[in-house]
Symmetry: C2
């Protein structure tokens, strides 16, 4: 039996109820325009499909994604007590410091595609208040150990989702027209695996992988931890928020919120890898309409990711065996999405260019 | 028996003989650096491999591809008389006009990744002298019909290769640090198929495809035309220039030259789709060393392209079902290659960032 909703959960229900469907008429108009441009019809393949999807989301036949941001949410995980990661928990805050000083992979990739990185502390177990560039929205100093009980309370989880909704709408208000998701949190591939198992019904062994670098024995142990977490919490997959609170993470909840916030503002959201994919499963469980506003960036080397994308019905832009997170795949996909929109919005038609058609 | 080489062929022999191998020691240093950066080792997958390859080509452990250009070569094909394309020959020059006025797909994609497009007329059957932005290097007003005899004389072919070598070295002298290949030429997927068959020994049916949009009957006819061209010209696959002259194209020869010119200047060259791939086969037949300077951009929807990439030993960056040419795939890959180099050259090491390593 679900408890009475708290204020954050009630707010979330209001936000999700107000989300509009995307517009198939705009997609149809985009295809009509694509087929009139100076190229053999459909010869840009997936690029045209991406452009048509953004057109549908933005409700225009000339979409633009000029200003791009990765919203990177960081938080810690109580489940690291089970020894699920080869890296110590301190790496979470150390990497946050690295993000704001510009030394991480996401900084280089974002700069190379002309995107900004907005770093949110949703639940890092370390005082980051000295880092001005970190946007402080700490809900708790990390989650509880999901192998012993729920990772978060229901209200903490809803609050973390709200942080993400607000992060997205603030970014969109600031003029960003394409949002990507990124995360940092030692232990979060265990949470992603537990969420994927819970939302899809797949077994722990199907959804766990090496994460940052576990060996076979480590992966088997991680599967046991996921199994324990699912058993201890007796999650009900039809209770979307309950699942996310029990076996999710604060940064994952926030990213689910980012996706919901993007949908609320009719803005395309690019999903990074496996952890972000688990956030997307959560977002779509909370609000099925949100799925239409998502684009998948890459297929991660983490084995559970394929299951996530199948469940979401999303096709990745590329497969580059990446498994880093941070939003690196999303940022890399920004370049392709930008090019796709540039083609649809900027090319001349056969008539405009005076080019003969097929005989 | 090969004829005495003319001046262009002799010059080409001098250029190819002077090409140095790439430096495995620089690649090793790049991997050492990649493994010291703040990310789990190898967690950026193919991106790291791309960065290491560019490091090896540029002979540095901090490669940069800041200034990028697509060299787009255009020419006409006598084989269009056989009805191998649904588009009339005039589309070649009409699209060249479209390139220089900025209305084509390549213009939008190049702009979106910050690359320039350098348009060369190597053999368009139309007077383009009124278009100032077209770089006029016409060797002939299109090729002869390869189904009846050689497409070019040996010297014409060597001259077209020289045009490409010079185009690459001029661009590199102008400060471009990454070059991509693009082409326009109605009928050129037939030439690409004939070259692929000749250089790989595969049959015509394995290497022909719809091109700009043939139906099944059209594809079968195209295979017959390729078969006739190979039979009439009795090509000797060990005579690289002879093959290219007999069943190639002026723009394909020029792009082979671009690849050789890049190798001569230790510069990475990004190969676009099937037609550019046939140029790469030609370049590597003329000069096997050139292969080490190439990066494949995408796997085209054109079925023969897979055979080309296998023969070249190149793995594409992505598969997006593109089949347009113009350099669109190469330009799109520029973004990924730029990001890869930015990661290798710009990230902080664990020591620099004060991040703990794996336990």
């Amino acid at each position: 039996m679900k408890p009475e909703p708290g204020p954050h959960e009630s707010e979330l229900t209001r936000v999700t109820a107000a989300i509009d469907p995307t517009d198939p008429e705009c997609e149809r108009a985009a295809w009509e325009r694509l087929d009139s441009l100076t190229k053999p019809p459909r010869s840009l393949g997936r690029l045209e499909q991406i452009a048509a999807r953004v057109a549908r989301i933005q409700r225009t036949s000339k979409p633009s994604v000029a200003r791009k941001a990765v919203i990177l949410a960081a938080a810690d995980h109580g489940v690291v007590a089970e020894g699920v990661s080869p890296y110590p928990q301190d790496v979470t805050w150390q990497m946050v410091a690295n993000f704001v000083s510009g030394g991480a992979a996401i900084n280089q990739i974002a700069r190379s595609v002309g995107a900004e990185v907005l770093v949110y502390d949703v639940g890092v177990a370390h005082d980051l208040s000295g880092h001005d560039a970190v946007i402080g929205r700490k809900v708790a100093a990390g989650t509880q150990n999901m192998a012993n009980g729920p990772a978060m309370t229901r209200e903490q989880c809803a609050q973390a989702v709200s942080v993400g909704v607000r992060a997205a709408t603030d970014a969109i208000d600031d003029g960003f027209t394409l949002i990507g998701t990124g995360e940092m949190g030692i232990g979060n591939s265990t949470a992603a695996a537990a969420l994927t198992a819970a939302y899809t019904g797949r077994g722990p062994l199907d959804v766990v992988g090496p994460g940052t670098g576990l060996d076979e024995q480590g992966i088997a142990h991680k599967a046991h931890v996921v199994e324990r977490a699912l058993a201890v919490n007796r999650v009900d997959r039809l209770d979307a928020l309950g699942v996310l609170a029990a076996v999710g993470g604060l940064e994952i909840a926030a990213l689910a919120g980012v996706m919901i916030g993007c949908a609320a503002r009719r803005t395309a959201c690019v999903v990074d890898g496996y952890i972000s994919g688990a956030a997307a499963l959560s977002a779509c469980a909370l609000c099925p309409q949100a799925a239409d506003y998502l684009l998948a960036s890459h297929l991660s080397a983490e084995p559970g990711h394929r299951i996530v994308l199948e469940k979401l019905g999303l096709e990745p832009v590329f497969t580059l065996d990446m498994r880093l997170g941070e939003g690196t795949g999303a940022a890399l996909a920004f370049g392709v999405i930008d090019a796709a929109c540039a083609v649809l919005s900027g090319m001349a038609t056969f008539a405009e260019a005076g080019v003969s058609g097929a005989g």
